[in-house]
Symmetry: C2
Amino acid sequence: MSQETMSRRDALKLGMIGAGAAMLTASQAMAAAPMEKDVKFDEEYDVIVIGTGFAGLAAAAKAAERGYKVLILEKMGRVGGNSVINGGGMAVPMNKYQKKHGIEDSGEKFIADCLKAGLGINHVEMLETIVKRSNDALEFALKCGAKFQDVKPAWFGGHSVARTLVTENMSGSGIIQPMVAFVEKLPGCKIMTRTKMDDFVMSNDGTSVLGVTARINYRFDKKLISDDMENTSGEKKVFRAKKGVILASGGFSMDKVYRKMQDPRIMEDMDATNHDGATAGALLKAFQIGALPIHIDWIQQGPWASPDERGFGVAPLLTQQGLFNLGIAVDVRNGKRFMNEMADRKTRADAEYVILREAPKMYPVNFGTYNTFGEQIYPQVEKGLQSGVMKKFDTLDALAANYKIPADALKATVKKYNEDALAGKEDEFKKQTLKNLKAAPIDMKGPFYAIRLMPKPHHTMGGLKIDTKARVISGNTGKPILGLFAAGEVTGGTHGASRLGTVAVTDCLTFGLIAGETI
Amino acid sequence: MSQETMSRRDALKLGMIGAGAAMLTASQAMAAAPMEKDVKFDEEYDVIVIGTGFAGLAAAAKAAERGYKVLILEKMGRVGGNSVINGGGMAVPMNKYQKKHGIEDSGEKFIADCLKAGLGINHVEMLETIVKRSNDALEFALKCGAKFQDVKPAWFGGHSVARTLVTENMSGSGIIQPMVAFVEKLPGCKIMTRTKMDDFVMSNDGTSVLGVTARINYRFDKKLISDDMENTSGEKKVFRAKKGVILASGGFSMDKVYRKMQDPRIMEDMDATNHDGATAGALLKAFQIGALPIHIDWIQQGPWASPDERGFGVAPLLTQQGLFNLGIAVDVRNGKRFMNEMADRKTRADAEYVILREAPKMYPVNFGTYNTFGEQIYPQVEKGLQSGVMKKFDTLDALAANYKIPADALKATVKKYNEDALAGKEDEFKKQTLKNLKAAPIDMKGPFYAIRLMPKPHHTMGGLKIDTKARVISGNTGKPILGLFAAGEVTGGTHGASRLGTVAVTDCLTFGLIAGETI
């Protein structure tokens, strides 16, 4: 039984962590955070920020602008976390570009959109805060030098109006790079890369965060099952934070151990759309000093990704704005369709996992013909073929042979799909895009374009509980933990069960700004 | 806007916790668990068990049977937690009663059933353990004196075969009471009620659990927003556990603060099917010594419950085996139906919450006529009328007037519903029970029976991560925390997103037994 095989293999891998963990220093392995009396501070700052994504940099920039001496710790060799590889879209309800283009929006609409996507479990006070403060966050990003396209806002899926601004370079780097330049220009503001926070330093009465222990010259090792548990590189330093610590360490979509505990379908060797360093280490340390875990198992996964490229890649464009639309996805074992290729993300990721659970690595194949690609992604088609994530076949037989799909069954699937569409009949999965098509969606003359599919973790909705001032709430008192603030993907509650596209940038910049104001 | 109103009210209530929390002793408020060097042990045992439900008593009984000196702590005045008010059904795959009645079952079937209900995120190795060990758990319960009906096993929803045994008295007390008698007869085994565990006592190197701090003469106060944060009653004691602590403190369906953080639709003043003491305090303390939060936001809620009685009550029987079947549920604001009354639990609870979010306390009303009640619950009909949770009306006008439903709209709803069913047409929500009915489901002669509906939290799927030996896994090492074991509803992973009915008893008894064997 494959499930048994999987669990044995996993047990083996957890055993491997054990071996690495055995090398940990006592301070890494022990649960209790060190207290003031246990440490000697090497350096002293007003504010310490953990992470250099949107939230961390916004918090640092605001705190530094207020005159504080700020230390920003980044465990990786480069700054920007997931933010710098993000698409650069920021949803801002009632923004100035909407007004310029006559788009009516409201806080109620924004909150209703988020609650609908979030299955009603979003923390409404966080959404209300975004409504009140996201235009300030936008202005602050602009002040730091971020450049947004001065055009009509974009209309993203799940939003009831067009409210998304996109950076000029269509990447989060259009915000991150100016912000890095901004903070580096401010006196007393320092970014240290390859410096990993290990733990919080607590006051002797255990109630306040006074600083952090960290390791400089740290080298993240993506080959480890758990870098957080196994990596012993670097030299220990203790940093005091007189005003407090702002945790902006991001999500855990690349944490092979913890993401799998939340969703065992995510195998250790599965890629995500995230950068390698997106692990849960700092979040778990916050739980140990009383931060409350919220919505921790909601991991948004992209059913439009491919195992044949790293990270986000080009497949999501080619499937979402192409092959999913009129093309089909089949189970390679029997050549049959197994989902509505246009269903919501979760439904499709779940359907792909049913196959991958039964037959590990037998990735389903999505294919179609040229007519299915949207005009705007024609340049991406070449890119996909060149990188090899998409393949082109002259015949269905050649396609079937390449992916070891039973050819006759595959051809029967295509035949029925085309016939149903031609006859104006609903296909077996009730795909809306075929309604009234009255044409063969798959052009039998070929050529046929194909991409293998694998769900990739994309965003972890869960995290720790903060209040609307970005203060971390304690499970012991129901009140803020003194000296601890957090913002961005490391927090939970704002997005509920599922985040709407382009609200992550908004969330991170808004609560990053607020953390920098509050501290 | 009602959401704003709600969040302001909630902020106020959280402020109220603050007032109580200010009275906490320093040791309650601080995050770090005390170490050996910080305490003086008052008493010494081999094993300390927290909780007296199925899991705690099974663990204690097994450990005591092995010759250990066992202390069992129960914070409430009575033993048994939720278990003693449970329905007494235990699903055991491949049990001896199935064999006697020729019912074929298998581990694969059981696991597939659980994975389907659990949306595929169950930890399969835990289900495999239940397959291997639940018959042992059943035998152990029988040995302790539990009495099950010697009949053909019952077939519960979501199970692919009949595999549920039910206690002779149709209550979990049929297991709890004999187990209490069993442990009390064993030498060196002691139950202390009104004794609340406050924290773990850790070894000086922070890696092992050596015991607990607790308060004797503790009086749980259900009037507090958070008993865990605010209650200061009792006198402190420190207990050493030479072999370890077994945490079996249950779920948190009655934790007004923490359940609402996971699902903000669950207002503080909403009842649950649980006993008052089902709070998150001990679970949160385990997170603080490194236990990993798993699936923490999946709270199973019963859409079949009523605000007009406390706890589980009689409404669930009257709706599930009665008024939902042929009757209808309407939104009192407009007299219209708003859900398929036979949909799955989550779909129906979500539909009820949409109304309650827009209009707090405007509980929907489920009604029908006598023909809808199953014969087996005729005695309950009288009980429901006597307690007042169900009301009887001679006319639809009287019913509408009582609940302030627009009478004309209500009558139009009933008329259409009956006409569709008579004509063999599908109703607007595609209710399966009306298919081929060819009769009026609601008997217009009356009388009409009505119950107000409110979802009630029933089981918290999430908790901390244990391995198949009931050892609590540390987020710092990926290995067991020395001296810490857990079983039952305080753990997460086994049930995934949604627990199948009657698998809770199995889970608790199986992993309770294993904890008692492993320690």
